[in-house]
Protein backbone atom coordinates (compact mmCIF):
# COMPACT_ATOMS: atom_id res chain seq x y z
CA UNK A 1 0.00 0.00 0.00
CA UNK A 2 2.72 2.39 0.98
CA UNK A 3 4.68 1.58 -2.12
CA UNK A 4 1.69 2.28 -4.30
CA UNK A 5 1.21 5.56 -2.54
CA UNK A 6 4.85 6.44 -3.04
CA UNK A 7 4.56 5.47 -6.65
CA UNK A 8 1.52 7.66 -7.17
CA UNK A 9 3.12 10.61 -5.44
CA UNK A 10 6.36 10.25 -7.35
CA UNK A 11 4.64 9.78 -10.66
CA UNK A 12 2.53 12.83 -10.04
CA UNK A 13 5.58 14.85 -9.05
CA UNK A 14 7.55 13.61 -12.03
CA UNK A 15 4.96 14.17 -14.67
CA UNK A 16 3.55 17.36 -13.23
CA UNK A 17 6.93 18.98 -12.84
CA UNK A 18 8.04 17.77 -16.25
CA UNK A 19 5.05 19.39 -17.86
CA UNK A 20 5.69 22.51 -15.84
CA UNK A 21 9.25 22.52 -17.20
CA UNK A 22 7.80 22.62 -20.66
CA UNK A 23 5.17 25.27 -20.13
CA UNK A 24 6.78 27.80 -17.86
CA UNK A 25 8.30 30.81 -19.54
CA UNK A 26 10.87 31.41 -16.86
CA UNK A 27 14.09 29.50 -17.29
CA UNK A 28 14.80 29.67 -13.56
CA UNK A 29 11.45 28.13 -12.76
CA UNK A 30 12.09 25.59 -15.45
CA UNK A 31 15.25 24.52 -13.66
CA UNK A 32 13.43 24.22 -10.36
CA UNK A 33 10.63 22.19 -11.90
CA UNK A 34 13.27 19.99 -13.43
CA UNK A 35 14.58 19.47 -9.93
CA UNK A 36 11.12 18.44 -8.81
CA UNK A 37 10.79 16.07 -11.71
CA UNK A 38 14.15 14.51 -10.97
CA UNK A 39 13.22 14.07 -7.34
CA UNK A 40 10.07 12.34 -8.50
CA UNK A 41 12.14 10.03 -10.65
CA UNK A 42 14.24 9.26 -7.62
CA UNK A 43 11.03 8.28 -5.89
CA UNK A 44 10.13 6.04 -8.81
CA UNK A 45 13.52 4.39 -8.55
CA UNK A 46 12.83 3.79 -4.90
CA UNK A 47 9.56 2.06 -5.76
CA UNK A 48 11.51 -0.12 -8.13
CA UNK A 49 13.79 -1.17 -5.35
CA UNK A 50 16.70 0.68 -6.83
CA UNK A 51 17.72 2.48 -3.70
CA UNK A 52 21.24 3.22 -4.78
CA UNK A 53 20.22 4.59 -8.14
CA UNK A 54 17.56 6.68 -6.45
CA UNK A 55 20.02 8.27 -4.10
CA UNK A 56 22.53 8.72 -6.89
CA UNK A 57 19.84 10.51 -8.81
CA UNK A 58 19.32 12.89 -5.94
CA UNK A 59 23.03 13.32 -5.31
CA UNK A 60 24.09 13.98 -8.86
CA UNK A 61 21.10 15.85 -10.17
CA UNK A 62 19.88 17.79 -7.19
CA UNK A 63 23.27 18.37 -5.71
CA UNK A 64 25.15 18.81 -8.93
CA UNK A 65 23.48 19.23 -12.24
CA UNK A 66 20.65 21.48 -11.14
CA UNK A 67 22.97 23.73 -9.17
CA UNK A 68 25.27 23.88 -12.15
CA UNK A 69 22.34 24.81 -14.34
CA UNK A 70 21.25 27.49 -11.93
CA UNK A 71 24.78 28.85 -11.98
CA UNK A 72 24.80 28.78 -15.73
CA UNK A 73 21.52 30.65 -15.89
CA UNK A 74 22.96 33.28 -13.62
CA UNK A 75 26.20 33.47 -15.58
CA UNK A 76 24.31 34.01 -18.79
CA UNK A 77 22.32 36.88 -17.47
CA UNK A 78 19.52 35.36 -15.48
CA UNK A 79 15.96 35.10 -16.61
CA UNK A 80 15.68 38.70 -17.74
CA UNK A 81 17.99 38.05 -20.58
CA UNK A 82 16.53 38.99 -23.94
CA UNK A 83 18.08 37.85 -27.16
CA UNK A 84 20.21 40.67 -28.43
CA UNK A 85 19.19 40.31 -32.00
CA UNK A 86 15.74 38.98 -31.37
CA UNK A 87 13.92 41.55 -33.34
CA UNK A 88 16.58 42.16 -35.93
CA UNK A 89 16.82 38.66 -37.23
CA UNK A 90 13.24 37.71 -36.66
CA UNK A 91 14.14 34.78 -34.48
CA UNK A 92 11.65 33.11 -32.26
CA UNK A 93 11.75 34.26 -28.62
CA UNK A 94 14.16 32.44 -26.38
CA UNK A 95 11.54 30.46 -24.57
CA UNK A 96 9.61 29.62 -27.69
CA UNK A 97 6.37 30.82 -29.16
CA UNK A 98 3.24 29.07 -30.27
CA UNK A 99 4.75 27.96 -33.53
CA UNK A 100 7.73 26.25 -32.02
CA UNK A 101 5.47 24.66 -29.48
CA UNK A 102 3.21 23.49 -32.26
CA UNK A 103 6.12 21.82 -34.01
CA UNK A 104 7.29 20.34 -30.74
CA UNK A 105 3.88 18.96 -29.96
CA UNK A 106 3.55 17.60 -33.47
CA UNK A 107 6.80 15.68 -33.13
CA UNK A 108 5.75 14.66 -29.66
CA UNK A 109 2.57 13.27 -31.15
CA UNK A 110 4.57 11.28 -33.65
CA UNK A 111 6.66 9.84 -30.85
CA UNK A 112 3.57 9.14 -28.82
CA UNK A 113 1.88 7.24 -31.60
CA UNK A 114 5.07 5.36 -32.34
CA UNK A 115 5.54 4.37 -28.76
CA UNK A 116 1.96 3.42 -28.22
CA UNK A 117 2.58 0.67 -30.71
CA UNK A 118 5.59 -0.53 -28.75
CA UNK A 119 3.94 -0.26 -25.39
CA UNK A 120 0.89 -2.15 -26.57
CA UNK A 121 3.11 -5.06 -27.43
CA UNK A 122 4.97 -4.81 -24.17
CA UNK A 123 1.80 -4.68 -22.13
CA UNK A 124 0.79 -7.95 -23.74
CA UNK A 125 4.15 -9.51 -23.06
CA UNK A 126 4.49 -8.29 -19.50
CA UNK A 127 1.17 -8.06 -17.74
CA UNK A 128 0.93 -6.16 -14.52
CA UNK A 129 2.89 -7.84 -11.81
CA UNK A 130 2.89 -6.74 -8.22
CA UNK A 131 6.12 -7.53 -6.52
CA UNK A 132 6.36 -8.24 -2.89
CA UNK A 133 7.92 -5.57 -0.86
CA UNK A 134 11.20 -7.37 -0.92
CA UNK A 135 13.78 -4.77 -1.54
CA UNK A 136 17.11 -6.50 -1.17
CA UNK A 137 20.16 -4.34 -0.88
CA UNK A 138 21.34 -3.33 -4.30
CA UNK A 139 24.48 -1.57 -3.18
CA UNK A 140 26.60 -4.64 -2.71
CA UNK A 141 25.46 -6.19 -5.95
CA UNK A 142 26.12 -2.98 -7.83
CA UNK A 143 29.51 -2.82 -6.20
CA UNK A 144 30.33 -6.32 -7.36
CA UNK A 145 29.07 -5.57 -10.85
CA UNK A 146 31.14 -2.42 -10.95
CA UNK A 147 34.41 -4.03 -10.04
CA UNK A 148 33.89 -7.31 -11.85
CA UNK A 149 31.75 -7.25 -14.95
CA UNK A 150 31.72 -3.56 -15.60
CA UNK A 151 35.16 -2.76 -14.30
CA UNK A 152 36.30 -1.35 -17.60
CA UNK A 153 33.33 0.98 -17.79
CA UNK A 154 33.96 1.92 -14.19
CA UNK A 155 37.56 2.85 -14.82
CA UNK A 156 36.83 4.49 -18.12
CA UNK A 157 34.11 6.58 -16.58
CA UNK A 158 36.73 8.14 -14.37
CA UNK A 159 38.75 8.96 -17.44
CA UNK A 160 35.61 10.32 -19.09
CA UNK A 161 34.98 12.53 -16.12
CA UNK A 162 38.56 13.67 -16.11
CA UNK A 163 38.22 14.55 -19.76
CA UNK A 164 34.98 16.38 -19.07
CA UNK A 165 36.62 18.27 -16.24
CA UNK A 166 39.63 19.29 -18.25
CA UNK A 167 37.62 20.14 -21.32
CA UNK A 168 34.99 22.12 -19.51
CA UNK A 169 37.60 23.89 -17.41
CA UNK A 170 39.45 24.91 -20.54
CA UNK A 171 36.27 26.13 -22.16
CA UNK A 172 34.98 27.96 -19.15
CA UNK A 173 38.23 29.38 -17.83
CA UNK A 174 38.37 33.17 -17.72
CA UNK A 175 40.63 34.35 -20.46
CA UNK A 176 41.71 37.32 -22.42
CA UNK A 177 38.88 38.93 -24.24
CA UNK A 178 39.64 38.57 -27.90
Amino acid sequence: MFVQLLFALSALLTVGCAIAVAVTKNIMHSCIFLLGSLLGIAGLYATLGADFVAVTQIMVYVGGVVILMLFAVMLTGGKDFVSRAQNLLGLAPAMGNKWTYAIGLLVGLVVLLTNVKLIMNISKAYPAKIFGNDFPSTVNQIGHLLIKEHVLAFELSSVLLLGALVGAAIIARPRKQG
Binding site: F2, G64, L68, G78, N133, I147, S158, L165
Partner: protein, 138 residues
Protein backbone atom coordinates in the same frame (compact mmCIF):
# COMPACT_ATOMS: atom_id res chain seq x y z
CA UNK B 1 10.17 -11.43 8.17
CA UNK B 2 9.32 -8.66 10.48
CA UNK B 3 6.29 -6.62 9.55
CA UNK B 4 8.10 -3.34 9.23
CA UNK B 5 10.57 -4.48 6.67
CA UNK B 6 8.56 -3.26 3.77
CA UNK B 7 8.47 0.37 4.50
CA UNK B 8 11.84 1.58 5.50
CA UNK B 9 11.24 4.42 3.14
CA UNK B 10 8.15 5.49 5.01
CA UNK B 11 9.95 7.69 7.55
CA UNK B 12 11.71 9.50 4.75
CA UNK B 13 8.43 10.40 3.14
CA UNK B 14 6.86 11.22 6.47
CA UNK B 15 9.66 13.60 7.33
CA UNK B 16 9.46 15.31 3.98
CA UNK B 17 5.72 15.60 4.40
CA UNK B 18 6.21 17.04 7.87
CA UNK B 19 8.56 19.63 6.45
CA UNK B 20 5.95 20.70 3.94
CA UNK B 21 3.26 20.65 6.60
CA UNK B 22 5.35 22.69 8.95
CA UNK B 23 6.05 25.18 6.22
CA UNK B 24 2.43 25.51 5.24
CA UNK B 25 1.30 25.57 8.82
CA UNK B 26 3.86 28.19 9.74
CA UNK B 27 2.70 30.29 6.85
CA UNK B 28 -0.87 29.89 7.89
CA UNK B 29 -0.03 30.97 11.40
CA UNK B 30 1.94 33.88 10.13
CA UNK B 31 -0.93 34.96 7.92
CA UNK B 32 -3.22 34.77 10.91
CA UNK B 33 -0.97 36.50 13.36
CA UNK B 34 1.24 38.81 11.41
CA UNK B 35 0.22 42.34 10.61
CA UNK B 36 -0.23 43.26 6.96
CA UNK B 37 0.71 46.83 6.25
CA UNK B 38 2.44 46.78 2.90
CA UNK B 39 4.09 49.88 1.53
CA UNK B 40 6.28 50.49 -1.43
CA UNK B 41 9.31 51.46 0.59
CA UNK B 42 9.05 48.38 2.71
CA UNK B 43 9.08 46.10 -0.25
CA UNK B 44 12.05 47.55 -2.01
CA UNK B 45 15.10 45.31 -1.87
CA UNK B 46 17.59 46.41 0.72
CA UNK B 47 20.45 48.35 -0.70
CA UNK B 48 21.84 50.16 2.33
CA UNK B 49 18.98 52.60 2.27
CA UNK B 50 19.63 53.82 -1.23
CA UNK B 51 17.20 53.45 -4.08
CA UNK B 52 17.95 50.03 -5.61
CA UNK B 53 19.76 50.32 -8.91
CA UNK B 54 18.94 47.80 -11.59
CA UNK B 55 18.25 44.16 -11.09
CA UNK B 56 20.43 41.79 -9.15
CA UNK B 57 19.94 39.19 -11.87
CA UNK B 58 22.92 40.05 -13.96
CA UNK B 59 25.74 38.00 -15.33
CA UNK B 60 27.97 36.69 -12.60
CA UNK B 61 31.60 35.83 -12.50
CA UNK B 62 32.53 32.63 -14.22
CA UNK B 63 34.59 31.45 -11.24
CA UNK B 64 31.40 30.22 -9.64
CA UNK B 65 30.80 27.99 -12.58
CA UNK B 66 34.30 26.57 -12.52
CA UNK B 67 33.85 25.66 -8.87
CA UNK B 68 30.53 24.03 -9.66
CA UNK B 69 32.15 22.17 -12.48
CA UNK B 70 34.92 20.72 -10.36
CA UNK B 71 32.36 19.87 -7.75
CA UNK B 72 30.08 17.95 -10.06
CA UNK B 73 32.91 15.87 -11.42
CA UNK B 74 34.10 14.95 -7.95
CA UNK B 75 30.56 14.36 -6.86
CA UNK B 76 29.97 11.88 -9.62
CA UNK B 77 33.26 10.15 -8.98
CA UNK B 78 32.47 9.75 -5.30
CA UNK B 79 29.05 8.38 -6.26
CA UNK B 80 30.75 5.72 -8.30
CA UNK B 81 33.15 4.97 -5.49
CA UNK B 82 30.46 4.38 -2.89
CA UNK B 83 29.40 0.89 -4.01
CA UNK B 84 32.99 -0.14 -4.42
CA UNK B 85 33.83 1.16 -0.98
CA UNK B 86 30.85 -0.72 0.43
CA UNK B 87 32.08 -4.04 -0.81
CA UNK B 88 35.74 -3.34 -0.22
CA UNK B 89 35.79 -4.98 3.16
CA UNK B 90 33.85 -7.95 1.88
CA UNK B 91 36.28 -8.37 -0.99
CA UNK B 92 39.14 -8.13 1.44
CA UNK B 93 37.65 -10.83 3.61
CA UNK B 94 37.22 -13.00 0.55
CA UNK B 95 40.88 -12.54 -0.26
CA UNK B 96 40.46 -10.23 -3.23
CA UNK B 97 41.57 -7.18 -1.34
CA UNK B 98 44.51 -6.54 -3.61
CA UNK B 99 42.37 -6.56 -6.71
CA UNK B 100 39.82 -4.21 -5.21
CA UNK B 101 42.61 -1.99 -3.97
CA UNK B 102 44.11 -1.71 -7.42
CA UNK B 103 40.72 -0.92 -8.94
CA UNK B 104 40.00 1.69 -6.33
CA UNK B 105 43.45 3.26 -6.41
CA UNK B 106 43.52 3.52 -10.16
CA UNK B 107 40.13 5.18 -10.02
CA UNK B 108 41.29 7.60 -7.37
CA UNK B 109 44.50 8.34 -9.21
CA UNK B 110 42.49 9.66 -12.13
CA UNK B 111 40.58 11.78 -9.65
CA UNK B 112 43.86 13.13 -8.34
CA UNK B 113 44.95 13.95 -11.85
CA UNK B 114 41.84 16.06 -12.24
CA UNK B 115 42.46 18.03 -9.10
CA UNK B 116 46.15 18.38 -9.90
CA UNK B 117 45.31 19.73 -13.31
CA UNK B 118 42.88 22.28 -11.94
CA UNK B 119 45.33 23.22 -9.24
CA UNK B 120 48.13 23.77 -11.67
CA UNK B 121 45.98 25.79 -14.04
CA UNK B 122 44.82 28.00 -11.21
CA UNK B 123 41.18 27.06 -11.33
CA UNK B 124 41.24 26.48 -7.60
CA UNK B 125 42.55 29.96 -6.93
CA UNK B 126 39.77 32.33 -6.21
CA UNK B 127 41.94 35.42 -6.36
CA UNK B 128 44.38 34.49 -9.04
CA UNK B 129 41.83 34.07 -11.76
CA UNK B 130 40.40 37.38 -10.68
CA UNK B 131 43.79 39.01 -11.06
CA UNK B 132 44.31 37.36 -14.38
CA UNK B 133 41.08 38.67 -15.74
CA UNK B 134 41.81 42.09 -14.33
CA UNK B 135 45.23 42.08 -15.94
CA UNK B 136 43.82 40.94 -19.21
CA UNK B 137 41.23 43.62 -19.24
CA UNK B 138 43.89 46.30 -19.34
Amino acid sequence: MTPAQFDGLMPVVIFMGLAVLLFVGGHFLSVLLAPKKPSHLKSTPYECGEEPVGSAWSAFNIRFYVVGLIFIIFDVESVLMFPVASIFREMNDMGHGGYALIILLSFISVLIEGIAYCWKKGDLDWVKSYQVSAKNNK
